[in-house]
């Protein structure tokens, strides 16, 4: 069985290719797949009717205890036969339904085959969750098939509606299935049905599962999606919306009925909704002029009928229901396919515009008439057998509650009369010659149907005809299922055409007569229906609900999303103040004792930092504001040093300097002052929030520190640092070894930031080296302009205008640059044992580049670092990541340090720690970051000024740089 499902998957995947190769005839090949499954199932018929079952279990997700558990019992076999048999015939039909070169046929073929597989899986599944998975798969494929190419609004709406309703039901069902699984203690479907358990959990779960079943099978009040789904091509309507998918709910009801029919709530829901649906569907069907819609409402009505029979939970009605299910699958798909042929041949589906078609397409008329006879319940067809069995079961007491039996019997007799009436209306509408229309309308057949096109409906109609007299042969299969249900009467009647003169026969005759009368009075009835038509429909209710949801969404979005970033941030902060703040206020263990400071210098530096921060709030001049914020940074560096963190102090100092430089590079492009954009009240609110957050964070720090009792995780780090990391600078060992994973993530972030900066400035081309000096060009410029004599201190400073040059800076740079670079390398290598490391070393090297740029301009930067910063970033990341991989290959863990120690002739004892390479990567990335920032925010901005970059200006715009 698993193999059959896999076969469907493969066929669905190759279907588009096959359609491209072979055109519409590919459907013939695809039809072989369900046909093969049908054959396989027929071969198991003997085993199953003898009381055996076929099981197959494949492990799927062991962690969730989820298996692909499949089981073939009489019920599954019957439904699987319908699914595969009708599926094969519909695919066969598709081979002529489509015209050569129809667009979308490949996609359609794939989806239809995939649907056939999902539906087969659904009826075979023996696990609640597996059942759900297939259930939702059928929903999804139904959505895709209804929506088609997605080019028409009506189809999209119908597809969306079907999806929303059936998935909503499906979700309810999932919850219900989980609850049922919980109540019965197993998720194996057959065991659940055998021992459902009890209690409120089971009742609630059952009701939720019923919600899934009634949405899928289009019961009231969710019936309207099915007629709307008639937007789909006719084969889809015939297969999904008559024979297969809408039967999923019926199947589930039938599957659960043996164990669940006596659960409180089951019978009222199933019988009540089933009867109402049967009546409403039949009533509305009488009003339709579109043949397909007429059938669709007929399907709704019949689904209600099946729901009543199979949900009643008695052996007699269950058997009748199964026979009726088979009958319905046969006649309804035939009728839909017939409509498809009519539509294909004439291009018309409106029965007011069709006339005299029966004489022109006699074969089709016979096929249609056979199926219709089965639908109306005429002997000797299978529909008659099913209906007859249902009538006699109810008459003889197939429901334990007599009142209910009477109500149900009355209801289905009434419904059957309506069925007979709309059947007659269908036949008349499709094939009869009508007064007021020409003898044949439409005058010409666009595509007269061929033999292959008629084959599928013909086979289905014949099956319905033969199954009537042959119904005793169905008995073993039907009884195999029905035996699980309790017998209500003395003796179960077997299926058969003739049971003698009995009340049920009279009821059958009565429904036919009443149906005939309703048909005869059709024009009067039509007027009556129009007069009684209510303004509201469930469909409108659905759209109104969706619209109300939309409006609510707009309302919520409109109220909460005010479009102001400060407002959002303020809201978040107020929540922070309200929740953690109140916890801090009322529940926090406040520190019992305080110290004033670690050293008095701390207080002094703190005062400077706070004054600088306060100034940053006041100052509106851009550069000054940046400088005072820089002061807080430098102050922080001092605090770090005082706390005993030399690495931090060093890094903070370097970064602060770099930040200032980068700020200045950008701020030269912006106006001098920051304009005030806030009203005093806004400022007051901001101030209140800011003070609150400041208080909160200060207190949080103190409280957290005083509450700390556990030993720090880093207690063992000093030993580990030297033992495993081979270094004396513990902070550096943490970075490159103990927590190297973190560092790897962080340097990746630096790469991203550098890339982002460059992309924002360059826009089009972010790679490449900084522009280098072109001596020829320079010489030419030199002659034509009055420049200062070319200095020899720096390579490219001659390219600068004289007034921008500073000899002192050039000299200093010349002297210091190489020393600084050497120092940065020293920091890198010594960092493992002394303050320094890749970060600090990289920053120092970056500062050296800054110096060159400031002294010599953008060409000088190109001369100083003639490399692509992207290359540096990439190599750096490769180095750092590579150490991890190498470690892994040497048998250690990822990023674990290996220590190689050896004695060399000249150098003496050399100790090489592999994490050094990690640090080299860090170094390269930091240098790359600085270079990228300088190249973008420095050199490129200069170039745009120098060359008056055209992308900056629109014709009328005056730009003041």
């Amino acid at each position: 069985m698993t193999l059959l499902l896999l076969l469907h998957v493969v066929a669905a995947l190759v279907a588009p290719v096959l359609v491209r190769w072979w055109g519409r005839n590919a459907f013939l090949a695809l039809a072989l797949v369900p046909a093969a499954a049908f054959g396989w199932l027929l071969a198991r018929l003997g085993t199953v009717t003898d009381g055996g079952e076929v099981h197959e279990t494949t492990s799927w997700i062991p962690a969730l205890d989820l298996d692909v558990a499949l089981r073939l019992d009489p019920l599954a076999l019957l439904f699987a036969l319908v699914v595969t048999g009708v599926g094969a015939l519909v695919l066969l039909y598709c081979a002529r339904y489509f015209e050569a070169g129809d667009e979308g046929a490949g996609r359609f073929a794939g989806q239809l085959t995939a649907f056939a597989g999902s539906m087969l899986g659904l009826v075979l599944a023996d696990d609640l969750l597996l059942l759900y998975v297939f259930w939702e798969l059928t929903t999804v494929f139904s959505y895709l098939l209804i929506g088609g190419a997605g080019t028409r609004l009506a189809a999209r709406r119908a597809a969306g509606q079907a999806l929303v309703l059936t998935t909503a039901g499906g979700l309810a069902m999932l919850v219900g299935l989980l609850m049922i699984g919980e109540a019965s203690g197993t998720r194996v479907l057959s065991e659940v049905v055998a021992h459902p358990g009890s209690g409120p959990l089971l009742v609630a779960g059952t009701v939720l599962v019923l919600v899934g079943a009634i949405t899928k099978s289009a019961m009231i009040p969710f019936h309207f999606w099915l007629p709307a789904a008639m937007e789909a091509p006719t084969p889809v309507s015939a297969y999904l919306h008559a024979a297969a998918m809408v039967k999923a709910g019926i199947y589930l009801i039938a599957r659960l009925a043996p164990g669940f029919a006596d659960v409180p709530g089951w019978r009222p829901i199933v019988l009540g909704l089933g009867l109402a649906t049967m009546f409403v569907g039949g009533y509305r069907s009488l009003r339709q002029n579109d043949l397909k819609l007429l059938l669709a409402f007929g399907t709704v009505s019949q689904l209600g009928f099946l729901m009543v029979l199979l949900g009643a939970g008695s052996r007699e009605l269950g058997a009748a229901g199964l026979a009726m299910t088979l009958a319905h699958a046969l006649f309804k798909s035939t009728l839909f396919l017939t409509v498809g042929v009519i539509d294909h041949a004439t291009g018309v589906r409106d029965l007011r515009r069709l006339s005299g078609l029966g004489r022109r397409l006699p074969a089709l008329a016979v096929i249609g008439a056979l199926a219709a006879a089965s639908m109306a319940g005429l002997p000797p067809l299978l529909g008659f057998v099913g209906k007859e069995a249902a009538f006699s079961a109810l008459w003889d007491g197939g429901l334990s509650d007599r009142t209910a039996a009477v109500v149900v019997l009355t209801g289905i007799v009434l419904g059957s009369a309506l069925t007979a009436a709309y059947t007659a209306r269908f036949l008349w509408g499709a094939f009869a010659r009508k007064p007021g229309l020409p003898q044949t309308a439409p005058a010409e057949l666009v595509h007269p149907p061929g033999a292959l096109f008629l084959a599928a409906p013909a086979v289905l109609a014949l099956a319905g005809l033969l199954a009537g007299p042959g119904s005793p042969l169905l008995e073993p299969l039907v009884a195999g299922y029905a035996e699980q249900l309790p017998l209500r009467t003395a003796e179960a009647a077997a299926l058969g055409l003739w049971h003698g003169l009995q009340p049920a026969l009279a009821l059958s005759a009565g429904t036919l007569l009443a149906g005939g009368a309703l048909f005869a009075l059709r024009s009067r009835l039509f007027r009556l229906q129009q007069r009684w038509a209510v303004g509201a429909s469930a469909d409108e209710g659905y759209w109104n609900t969706l619209q109300a949801l939309d409006r609510f969404a707009v309302l919520v979005t409109g109220t909460t999303q005010r479009g102001s970033l400060p407002a959002y941030l303020g809201t978040i902060l107020v929540v922070v103040l309200a929740l953690p703040g109140s916890v801090l206020l009322f529940r926090a263990p406040w520190p019992g004792e305080w110290r004033a400071w670690d050293t008095p210098v701390q207080a002094l530096v703190g005062a400077v930092v706070l004054v600088a921060a306060a100034l940053a709030l006041k100052i509106r001049q851009r550069l000054s504001a940046v400088l005072v914020v820089g002061v807080t940074g430098y102050g922080l560096a001092v605090l770090f040093a005082l706390q005993g963190a030399p690495d931090l102090a060093l890094t903070q100092f370097l970064v602060e300097t770099l930040t200032l430089v980068v700020f200045v590079l950008v701020l030269r492009k912006l106006p001098k002052d920051i304009s005030e954009r806030h009203r005093p009240r806004e400022r007051a609110v901001r101030g209140a929030i800011a003070v609150g957050v400041g208080l909160l964070m200060g207190c949080v720090g103190a409280v957290a520190l005083s509450a700390r009792t556990a030993t720090p995780v880093s207690a063992d780090y000093p030993d580990e640092a030297y033992g495993f990391g081979g270094g004396k600078n513990i902070v550096n060992v943490i970075l490159v070894d103990l927590r190297a994973w973190d560092t790897l993530g962080e340097i990746s972030l630096l790469v991203v930031a550098a890339t982002g900066v460059a992309s924002l400035v360059f826009l089009r081309r972010r790679t490449g080296v900084v522009d280098r000096l072109d001596p020829v060009q320079l010489a030419r410029d030199d002659r034509s302009s009055r420049r200062a004599p070319r200095g020899q201190w720096l390579a490219a400073s001659a390219a600068l205008a004289p007034e921008r040059r500073s000899v002192v800076l050039e000299v200093v740079t010349r002297i210091l640059f190489h020393s600084i670079v050497v120092f940065s390398v020293y920091l890198l290598f010594s960092g493992h044992n002394e303050p320094g490391g890749g970060f600090a070393g990289g920053l120092v090297a970056g500062l050296a580049l800054v110096l060159r740029y400031l002294a010599g301009g953008r060409y000088e930067l190109g001369e100083a670092a003639p490399v692509d910063p992207g290359l540096l970033l990439g190599i750096g990341l490769l180095f750092s990541g590579g150490t991890g991989v190498v470690g892994l290959m040497l048998g250690a863990e990822v990023l674990q340090t290996a220590i190689l120690e050896t004695t060399l002739p000249v150098l003496g004892n050399v100790k090489l720690v592999t994490s050094l390479f990690f640090d080299i990567g860090v170094y390269l990335i930091v240098v790359g970051l600085v270079l990228d920032v300088l190249r973008s925010l420095g050199a490129e901005l200069d170039r745009q000024v120098d060359e008056d970059d055209p992308i900056d200006a629109t014709p009328d715009e005056v730009i003041v740089r």
């Binding site: 109220t559 479009g563 102001s564 520190p591 940053a616 940046v626 630096l750």
Partner: protein, 145 residues
């Protein structure tokens, strides 16, 4: 552990100043606020160590007297990342200035449009109002579309 008075005060002050600037509409001030917040957070992390101590470098001091190296490692990378992010924000500011001659966080026009809207999207259509050529599908196939 015993907290000091000085560090929480500095931390609180930096946070307050940072948040105030962060709530501004000027992108430059937002960035300055971001830097202050970064400094405040680094200091908060450092204060979790407890008291001051010797540098965590073996050979220079006894391990018992050293400060906790772990927060230091966290702060060290945070400092460098703050630089990277600050550079990115600066590039954003520059871009914004170059494009619209503004460096402010303006009101999101799209949000305002949504807020001012009363109706909904396509679903306002009544099913009966769909043009008939869209519903009626001649020949129920794709070729006529």
């Amino acid at each position: 552990m015993t907290p000091t008075v000085v560090l929480p005060v500095i931390i609180g002050g930096l946070y307050a100043a940072g948040v105030y600037l962060l709530l501004d509409r000027s992108l430059t001030r937002v960035l300055l606020g971001f830097l202050l917040l970064g400094n405040a957070t680094n200091l908060l992390l450092l204060s979790t160590v407890g008291g001051a101590g010797a540098a965590p470098i073996l050979g220079l001091a006894d391990p018992a007297e050293m400060t906790d190296p772990l927060p230091q490692a966290l702060i060290l990378t945070a400092i460098v990342i703050t630089f990277g992010v600050a550079a990115f924000l600066l590039a954003l500011i520059y871009r914004s200035w170059r494009l619209v001659r503004q460096e402010v966080v303006g009101v999101d026009e799209e949000d305002r449009r949504v807020a001012g809207r009363v109706g909904t999207d396509a679903d306002e259509l009544d099913p009966d109002d769909i043009p008939s050529d869209d519903i009626d599908l001649p020949h129920a196939s794709w070729e006529d579309r």
